[in-house]
């Protein structure tokens, strides 16, 4: 089981890292999501794995075994925080897209000699998903 979990963390991380290195913000959002999955599982696994040992006290159980509750609490906090962050990220992505007219992650210009006025003629694509070929 540990090997499965560890390899899952590895795959999530690798794919997440690959995606955050792409040039479009949405890929980065996907990457960040994968990374936060990875990190949540990683953090969770620091309490070591156990089955059938949920940390919910049961006075009827004989010799109850409970898994480490602390990492779970930490992961909960981490999940919530990364949710907030993702939400902000999504909004920033929209903001940058609406302002700049593209969703490239790299900046247009870092040290502009002249701060050009915003490029005109940005067409927003707010349509529904394009229909696939109708058969």
């Amino acid at each position: 089981m540990e090997a499965l979990v560890a390899s899952a963390i590895g795959v999530l991380t690798a794919c997440g890292v690959y995606l955050i290195l792409r040039l479009r913000v949405f890929a980065a959002i996907l990457g960040i999501s994968l990374l936060s999955y990875a990190v949540n599982v990683f953090l969770f696994s620091t309490g070591r794995l156990a089955t059938g040992a949920a940390p919910i006290l049961d006075k009827y159980a004989e010799n109850p075994v409970y898994t480490d509750p602390l990492p779970q609490a930490l992961v909960l906090t981490a999940i919530v925080i990364s949710f907030g962050m993702t939400a902000v990220l999504v909004m920033f992505t929209l903001g940058a897209y609406l302002e700049a007219g593209h969703d490239r992650i790299d900046m247009d210009e870092v040290e502009p000699d002249i701060d050009d006025p915003i490029t005109e003629g940005i067409a927003l694509d707010m349509s529904a998903e394009p229909a696939e070929d109708r058969t």
């Binding site: 059938g52 949920a54 919910i56 707010m126 349509s127 529904a128 998903e129 696939e132």
Partner: protein, 89 residues
């Protein structure tokens, strides 16, 4: 006997997961992918319930219920996205 039944049913739903996965990867339409996700949700709920039976515990009930609820919401949202583009309008 129940243990065998549970194992059998788990295997069934596990294979069901594999089938759904195949549909997820294969597509070909986006509706198919949504459908496969929806099927996975149901398979997983079944597996959770079976797991509860296997362990004689009800700790997993809330999870099953919530998964059923959010599975619905995601499916609808995905569909609405494809249908209208804007899921809340």
């Amino acid at each position: 006997m129940i243990a065998y039944a549970v194992t059998f049913a788990m295997a069934c739903f596990g294979i069901g997961l594999v089938f759904s996965l195949w549909r997820l990867l294969r597509g070909p339409t986006r509706a198919d992918r949504i459908l496969s996700l929806d099927t996975m949700v149901i398979n997983f709920i079944a597996i959770l319930v079976l797991y509860g039976v296997a362990n004689g515990t009800k700790v997993y009930f809330e999870a099953s219920m919530l998964i059923a609820m959010v599975g619905f919401v995601s499916t609808v949202a995905f569909c609405r996205f494809l249908l209208r583009g804007d899921i809340i309008e």
